[in-house]
């Protein structure tokens, strides 16, 4: 299957695009100029990384990790206030090292990273930040949040037209077993179809692509967004992409992050009060859904399971890297995560994302 870069005929990538950026203003000018031209060019990729760290401490964080320090060399250079240039080099024991140039725009509680390297090379950044958990983490955007994003985009484009397509995985129930199929929901009714699919069974939205067209039916913006908050600008003005589209994505992430801050165990008048986080589904879970859950969770969590295999699943789990601990309860169609003594937003993002990637996407209620 072709990736977007290959689709647009980009084989030799223009790695110098990022190195030509000297300031935030330069970035706006250069990317706006480049991505409104109809010519072969690398897609602009942007990653939303949840962190509270100072970018200058990134290389120190990598060096502290023995395994990562052997594989990666990271340098960060400040261009202007809260705007940095990032250079990551991944050593390859059997071939030449691969280097990635990127730009970091620091926002409250997150970084937006831009790069124009190929998707394959951009994955070096994804894998680096994934290994730096819990200092860094990715958001998980589910179908409800993506639909909310499409609504916001529609409001913004006013009289224009938004054509969306969703690449989803949907679970279908046959006489014998449950199977998962990949589908693409396209056209003007894609959102309605997505809602219908979500009501029918469990779904996972892998990618959202939307094209914004103006009154004259001319393409204004063409972007792709994955459920891990990785966006690609195929065509369009960078100002629209960043100040409109990306701002909505950041808003949605920040909104949920704010809600996660309320998920804590507190003491009110001498009694422990817990504020749990729930994920609500349209249908109840089956034994088959829960059986695989334990084996998929134990790679990152210290688990003690009390009830498993019937519609009532109950377990205590501790995030091995972050130290946060939770009680996980699944009963009928609701997953409930109750905080214990230590609970961080980072650990909650990870757990909610992990549960949704295993059991399907639901509505997050706090």
């Amino acid at each position: 299957m072709m990736n977007s870069d290959q689709q647009y005929g980009v084989e030799a990538l223009d790695r110098d695009l990022v190195s030509r950026v000297a300031s935030r203003e330069d970035m706006y000018d250069l990317f706006s100029q480049e991505y409104t031209k109809r010519e072969r060019k690398p897609l602009l990729k942007s990653l939303i990384v949840l962190t509270q760290q100072d970018p200058y401490r990134l290389s120190e964080t990598v060096e502290r990790n023995k395994l990562l320090s052997k594989r990666y060399v990271v340098t960060v250079q400040e261009k202007e206030h809260d705007f940095y240039r990032l250079h990551v080099e991944r050593k390859n024991p059997v071939g030449p090292a691969v280097s990635v140039e990127a730009l970091i725009d620091v926002k409250p509680n997150l970084w937006v990273i831009f790069t124009t390297v190929s998707l394959y090379d951009a994955k070096i950044l994804v894998s680096l930040f994934a290994r730096l958990y819990p200092d860094f983490n990715f958001a998980y955007l589910n179908h409800a949040q993506m639909l909310h994003l499409v609504e916001e985009i529609k409001k913004w484009c006013g009289s224009g037209r938004v054509v969306t397509s969703f690449a989803i995985k949907a679970e279908t129930e046959t006489d014998r077993a449950l199977s998962i199929n990949r589908k693409t929901l396209k056209g003007l009714s894609a959102e309605d179809e997505l809602v219908a699919e979500a009501k029918r069974g469990r779904i996972w939205v892998e990618k959202l692509r939307f094209q914004v067209k103006n009154k004259l039916n001319m393409l204004v913006l063409d972007t792709v967004l994955t459920n891990r908050g990785i966006a690609r600008l195929v065509y369009g003005n960078f100002v629209d992409f960043y100040d409109r589209f990306m701002t909505f994505v950041i808003q949605i992430s920040a909104e949920l992050d704010g809600k996660f801050s309320a998920v804590r165990r507190t003491i009110v008048e001498g009694e422990a009060q817990t504020k749990p986080c729930s994920i609500i589904y349209t249908s109840s879970f089956k034994v088959t859904h829960l059986k695989s859950l334990a084996s998929k969770l134990n790679s990152d969590y210290m688990l003690s399971i009390f009830h498993m295999g019937n519609p009532f699943f109950s377990a205590d789990l501790t995030d091995c890297y972050d130290g946060s601990s939770f009680t996980l309860t699944i009963f009928q169609n609701i997953i409930t995560i109750s905080p214990m003594i230590r609970t961080t937003n980072t650990a909650l993002w990870k757990l909610v994302g992990k549960l949704q990637s295993i059991l399907g996407e639901g509505d997050i209620v706090i």
Binding site: R64, A272, S304, N310, D316, T318, Y321, G323
Partner: protein
Amino acid sequence: MSALPKYGSIQECVEDFIKYRDTTRVLSALREYLNQRIFGRLIGVEHTFKLEDGTGITPDLTLAYENDSACCFIELKWRISQSSIKNELLDLKRYFNARQSLNGSSQKVTHNDIIMICHINDSNVVIDAVNELAGTPDVGFLKQEGVAIWSWYLGIPKGADTDANPEMRFGWLYGKTRNLELEKKIRMPGGIVIPASIAFSPTDRYLFTKDKPPVHYAMAFLLQHILSSFQDSTHRSQVIPLSLGMVDELYEKSKIFFPGWRDAESETIQARKEWIREAVDLIIQLKIKVSVPLPRTRKTIQQVLCARLERLRQKSRGAGPRVRKLRVRPDTMSAKLSTWFNSKT
């Protein structure tokens, strides 16, 4: 050195762990259920009443009824063995005969009811013991009105489909209380079924009961919820220096999971610290390194702890080194040949 738990098998050890946790869930659910003011006014969980002779009683749950003129004490048991049943029954006598006052008033209650709730698997042990002991003068009070024994059960009903909803149920075993509403409810066919919204409420209020937990339960609790919270981002990959001197600090962190922790008496606090001390001692003995990241295991934490405790017990008894069993896949040619050879000889 702390005493190591004795179990017939690892499975038994794991079952005990789950049974204790289920009991804490039952305690939380029962508190919510009784707080609905159908059967009376809930005084509290592990509320201590001072008696005239200077002693005190701390039942698991206390319910006042008949305009606070009578009390119904509930004692929830996670495990009852044949060796401990007589003492458990004798303890009930103190509750039954006590005459305490409520809310600091000088007026004393006219009578106390006492309900002992044991796990359904222990019901035979309890009933046999009651029938045997009821005639003796020490426990003759068991024949009186106001003493009852119930059973608790949490799980899928027997014979139901695997996809059936689990339930939390209390059943009548023996005796009678003077709380008419409670008595009417428990004598209904099937007993008292706690509504699913309460029984499977995701927010567990307590992780302990008044009874001592199995040591591996306390160890898992410390590892999962308390020691894990000691880490901070600046001290990654460092081992937390665990010692018996940390017991007070660990208790302070974990006390909110104990029922009635606010009004706990010094003796109760000391007993709870002793549970923690024992668990810390065994974590040190098992050489479990508490570091960042925490150790991950393919099996659940209770299975790992049970297996390691069993190994430590065998080692302390002087058993030789663990011999790894050679596993032969049954479908391999060598296995077939050896089966054939064995059948010939």
